[in-house]
Symmetry: C2
Subunit: 297 residues, 2 copies
């Protein structure tokens, strides 16, 4: 007997699923190297000293390296002019050792994230946040899908083999998660509803979801009575909140203990969506590298 | 006393609204000419002999001309190889007299509409169907919005000054109408649901809509009891069906006589969305031309 959440039937073990994906990427990187003699490479660009971003970037670089790929890190001071960042992106765009480029968000206030993100060549835009990849996703044609919603979709697919005709509700309409998530679910044949800060009855909307994806950044917004009995619940949020004993803990956008009594499947926080995001970044980098390396070999 | 639908309070007169938009475009074209000495130009490309497409293309060319713009028409036989169409698009992309390019769909079966549509320079893609403009719409950044959903939004705005927080339901998930429509309504702050052929309870979904946009191509699918009392209903469909007296008539995707008793505002077919599509094409061509002409002058 243990209190580890992964022992409970209805909890989606994002950590284990991410590990399997990472292992698969690693094996494919080796096979690609054997076939072509070449190695995929990912460049991560960090501007400024946001402590959370520093942790994310370091983890991304480390895991890229562990998956057998080349990992390049570019850390620039917050005062760097936007034009210098654009110059760096141009160099990375032209560098044949680099197949994926990721600019860690948020950027310092003097930069326009739309301009910077769209400077990345679409074929190397492994975060899938530029207009070309967003458009390809919207049009249902091949492109690079943003890592977090792609990871969410993989978790949903673990619980539901065929999504067609299910009603998927996405709460949160960001470019990073909510909007691409809605498009992915539409592509899978779901009826899709998307709610956000202006939605008048978010609980009523959420309760319709056979699949409920929550990405609002508001800790523990979604209570047990927001959830349709038997739904699959994906919690993208992660916030650190104080506890009654003066410490802190990580929570999601869903009140986990309430929701797990109603949902059939639910992701925990931490250990749900989080690990999938980096695993999908490795997956996207390999996908971006494959055509270039195979064509060159 | 007359039986013209435009005399009834709750009918949205698309013809009149389109005429006002066209008049405004015409006046702005003149003003732009006075300021810069230059004239916007639209090129329309038709491949094959689909009779409906021939009518559409001719109307587009004529109305472009009437709005004071240059109008170029390229009509190619159905047997034209795709590479020749792509060569033509390249010439039009580079032609400084042309600010908008439209390839009439559907294309003959031997062509890939995604490849052809995406060959148009994003700045000249006045149908807004290429990946870059689809992505810009999805990301909420400036771009060219597809004509039909843009026209629908203008009609909705005539009846509802502030869409924020309203629940908009879109039935039909095509790249041409449903998907960009959903994104436009999301950008306006609506809660958005999108249904389609796989939706299990389309009536239940439709009935939630303060705004209901129907673009399924299935004539008279939507009955009166699909509509939330007081809703604004936009009917994008147009089909010719036989009548009991052996003639034919045009109908939409909504059973008009039933729906008008429930809806607060509804578009007729014909005379609703149809006229807005061409008016928005003129609007988009002017928007595409403006920065190029103002920069050159």
């Amino acid at each position: 007997m243990t209190d580890s959440p992964s022992d409970v039937g209805n909890i989606i073990d994002g950590k284990a699923i991410a590990r399997r994906l990472t292992d698969r990427v690693k094996a494919e990187v080796e096979a690609l190297h054997d076939a072509t003699g070449a190695t995929p490479g990912l460049a991560v660009v960090l501007v400024g000293n946001d402590p959370a971003s520093e942790v994310y970037v370091r983890n991304k670089a480390l895991q890229t390296h562990r998956a057998g790929m080349r990992s390049f890190m570019h850390m620039l001071p917050a005062s760097t002019p936007q034009e210098e960042v654009l110059d760096l992106i141009r160099l990375l765009n032209d560098n044949p050792q680099i197949h994926g480029i990721l600019v860690q968000l948020p950027l310092p206030a003097h930069m326009d994230p739309v301009v910077v993100t769209n400077a990345i060549r679409p074929e190397k835009d492994v975060d899938g946040l530029g207009a070309v990849n967003a458009g390809r996703l919207s049009l249902g044609i091949d492109g690079i899908v943003p890592c977090t919603p792609l990871g969410c979709l993989m978790l949903i697919r673990e619980t539901l083999p065929d999504l067609r005709g299910l009603h998927a509700v996405v709460i949160g309409a960001s470019n990073l998660v909510g909007k691409p998530m809605a498009q992915l679910l539409l592509r899978e044949g779901c009826t899709v509803s998307i709610g956000h800060i202006h939605t008048r009855d978010p609980k009523g909307l959420a309760r319709q979801g056979d699949i409920l994806v929550v990405a609002t950044g508001r800790s523990e917004l979604v209570r047990g009575d927001w959830i349709k009995p038997g739904a699959t619940v994906i919690d993208v949020g992660i916030s650190r909140v104080p506890t009654s004993d003066g410490k802190t803990k990580l929570v999601g956008d869903v009140v986990f203990e309430e929701a797990r009594k109603v949902a059939r499947h639910i992701t925990p926080v931490p250990g749900g969506v989080g690990p999938m995001t980096i695993a999908c970044l490795l997956h996207n980098t390999l996908q971006a590298a494959r055509p270039l390396l195979e064509a060159a070999s």
